[in-house]
Symmetry: C2
Subunit: 474 residues, 2 copies
């Protein structure tokens, strides 16, 4: 069959049929990462991993597909974006849509875990409209950090989660950013206080979530079509505006408290519903001050689409950038209990949208970095005939000493070509072992950029080269 793969020769008078060409493309909405992109990805993952570990997190991993039944009912209207696997006579499976639901399954299955700070870096899948240039893909990485467990410490894990998101984004050096926060229960309470009937809260939230992309008039039209009165919309917009004008979260919360406390004509239940979530945000603000987090801003119109959030919700956006949010998360206290009713664990966490971060950094970093791609330190060179086994034996010694080494695979490469290879690929050192060196039991170490050569005894090669590498690193 390997032979059949090769282009067929014409036989006889008639030409053989052309082999059918395979369509050469990536699946829609997916991309390859070449060496340049991978270097950026490696660095980004290292920064994120270091940040998460700095806060005591451990790593887990889950499979790329789950039983489809696990994913149903978790993602609201977006469930239509789930990739299904074909029914090939076994279980009904689907590709994971996020890392949160698999984490909740993991907790529900591992009941001995009562407390965990975990992170997971893995790809998730959504059959959405891709915009590859803007980092919006159908296959993309999420870098999740979550704290699960009952700490009897309201808003403390929430504050630490926000401080970790803030720290990771600062370390990534993407430019100034804002983390917009809200509280799911405060949002619905505010809708109630504005006069939106309770049965419309869920659908109203998904309209309000569009306020960062659409005009107020457009969103109002949509809300009215859903049955919300114009008066209720206006009342709610007044709250949103009052809050948005304040850059201090503390002042914004005080003003919102004043508005809500002075609202009349609502029933007692609605009037009571806003107090607890608002005071939670006041406590959060106090903790964020202690943690030195200054990027957080309260935004009452932030809704977030996922159904599983129950408390704090937040999203990070880069100032002046068009890439949308680069991180998002919140508290989800009932998701594990949904899978394991007698062993519920409250959770709070977030996900970094690293594809957008990759896009930003790829555009920033100049693509002339070819010379730095491979981390090769030494190139083993010879101009002797039949030198290949010598070059192999020397390379083998250097690999054993932990030195990143390459040699030309040609039998008789030219000296100039070998030097040129070093310069083109940014290899800093060469060792030269020709006929003269072999006869005198010595070997030359050459600094590729200065072209200075040092002759050393052959048996001292590893120690001398190690010194040369150390002096390069200074």
């Amino acid at each position: 069959a390997a032979a059949a793969a090769a282009p067929q020769k014409p036989t006889g008078a008639k030409k053989a049929p052309k082999p059918k060409a395979v369509e050469l493309k990536n699946a829609k909405g997916t991309r390859d990462f070449g060496p340049f992109e991978m270097r950026i990805r490696e660095k980004v993952f290292q920064i994120i991993t270091d940040t998460y570990k700095r806060h005591g997190a451990v790593q887990i991993d889950t499979p790329v597909f789950e039983l489809k039944s696990l994913l149903l009912g978790q993602y609201g209207e977006d469930s239509k974006l789930i990739y299904d696997l074909a029914d090939q006579g076994g279980e009904i499976l689907a590709l994971r849509y996020d890392l949160t639901v698999p984490f909740a399954r993991y907790l529900a299955m591992n009941r001995n875990i009562k407390n965990i700070k975990r992170f997971q870096i893995a790809k998730v899948y959504r059959r959405d409209n891709p915009q590859i240039q803007r980092g919006r893909l159908r296959e993309f990485y999420q870098c999740d950090f979550d704290i699960a467990g009952d700490f009897n410490a309201p808003m403390v894990p929430d504050a630490e989660v926000l401080s970790i998101a803030d720290e990771a984004l600062r370390k990534l050096e993407l430019g100034p950013f804002t983390i917009k926060v809200n509280h799911r229960k405060l949002l619905t309470a505010a809708l109630g206080m504005a006069g939106v009937p309770e049965d419309l809260h869920h659908t109203a939230c998904s309209s309000i979530d569009k306020l960062d992309k659409q005009s107020k008039a457009e969103v109002q039209k949509e809300l009215e079509q859903k049955g919300v009165t114009a008066e209720a919309v206006q009342k709610f917009y007044l709250m949103v505006d009052t809050v948005t004008q304040e850059s201090s979260m503390q002042v914004a919360l005080d003003k919102l408290r004043d508005i809500l406390a002075s609202t009349t004509g609502v029933d007692a239940e609605a009037a009571a519903a806003w107090t607890a979530p608002l005071e939670e945000l006041v406590l959060l603000e106090k903790y964020l001050q202690a943690l030195g987090v200054t990027s957080v801003k309260f935004e009452l119109s932030l809704a977030r689409g996922l159904d599983y959030y129950t408390g704090l919700i937040f999203e990070a956006v880069l100032e002046g950038a068009l890439v949308g949010s680069i991180a998002g998360g919140g508290r989800y206290d009932n998701l594990v209990g949904k899978f394991s009713p007698r062993n519920n664990i409250p959770c709070v966490g977030f996900s970094l949208g690293v594809e957008r971060i990759f896009s930003i950094l790829e555009a920033k970093v100049k693509k002339n970095a070819e010379a730095e791609l491979a981390a090769t330190q030494v190139y083993v060179i010879s101009n002797s005939k039949e030198s290949i086994t010598d070059r192999m034996a020397i390379s083998s010694k250097l690999w054993a000493a932990g030195i990143n080494t390459e040699f030309s695979h040609r039998a008789n490469p030219k000296l100039l070509d070998q030097f040129g290879h070093c310069e083109k690929n940014g290899i800093p050192l060469a060792v030269i072992y020709g006929d003269a060196e072999k006869e005198n039991k010595v070997i030359k170490i050459r600094n590729v950029s200065t072209r200075v050569e040092t002759t050393v005894p052959f048996e001292d090669l590893v120690s001398e080269l190690t010194k040369a590498i150390q002096s390069l690193e200074l």
Copy 2:
């Protein structure tokens, strides 16, 4: 909808229907990796990545699914194990079966790449019979290293690839191993010399590949059913045995040459077909000597199932272990050309079967390592009331200084509980900031295992703690 997720309260006289429990399991043949397993996985990947980079390799990544048309016709009988995605109205997609075919597609699409040493570490998918305990899964990692390009240097990249496989397996410290090598063309030539008709070579190879699991008699029976004569089987077995008895590859090749040269009654074409591949292996053996690789053994019955191999083939097995092969690879000179006929690039490479390696190492390493899971260096402790914002502010300073730090999330944790947490979790240092320290503007640094405490000025905390961490590492 978040509220709907919580267990429903009974309303009225009738009990509300129980919420339907979600089935809590992993998809068949897949597993989660907990923090303990992830630590092993991280170490294994680090060793492998370091080895690949030591030889000048760069990393790429490709999507988890490909157009199904790309995968068809590459995997022989095993194509039935491919996972298909459901047809949801777009392209016909399938999960990747290995990393080799996506790499060949990548080369075919990136025609500027004429030469590359690349590695890729990623999951692949096969609907095979899983045996999770033995590390045989439906979702599993492969760690691939390949050299693509025309080096005008027969067997040099082949030899380097073998030396890298050898080096990675040695660094992983799994115990003694053997790398069995063969040559696809030598195998088919030997079959021809034994009297197996050419049209049966492909199917005969898949029977012969079973000789490591089944008896010679069983394989002979299967071959005879396929139409191979008993005499041909016996002639071929004689060659296999002659070779197998020799631990020196050089001697084995010499003996096989003698047998093939003295074989009579075959046509001239068959008699000529074995010379070139046998001499390639002789050259390979010379290079392996220069590279200091001693784990390689020639085995004429090694066939390997994949259709795309065209030259060297090899498989690594642990001595005395039952896990099957832990690495495998070979030369595939026509695969890129199949996708891009005018831009063919010859390739040689291999894949490390790390799931089996994980299984071996997980069994080796004692699972008492909980204490070492998180890399937390410092725990911030207080016995003052309302100390949480102090503990947060101190932690924030330490994170900014790059120190891995945690604190209790409780408002008023007991001193003993906090010390106990450090001891249980192997956190080496604590800083203590109670009322007395606060008043005197000092802070205590405590070595958790020796219980020695040092009082330092509060403003010197970071520098003193950095010193304490450095002295721990000595």
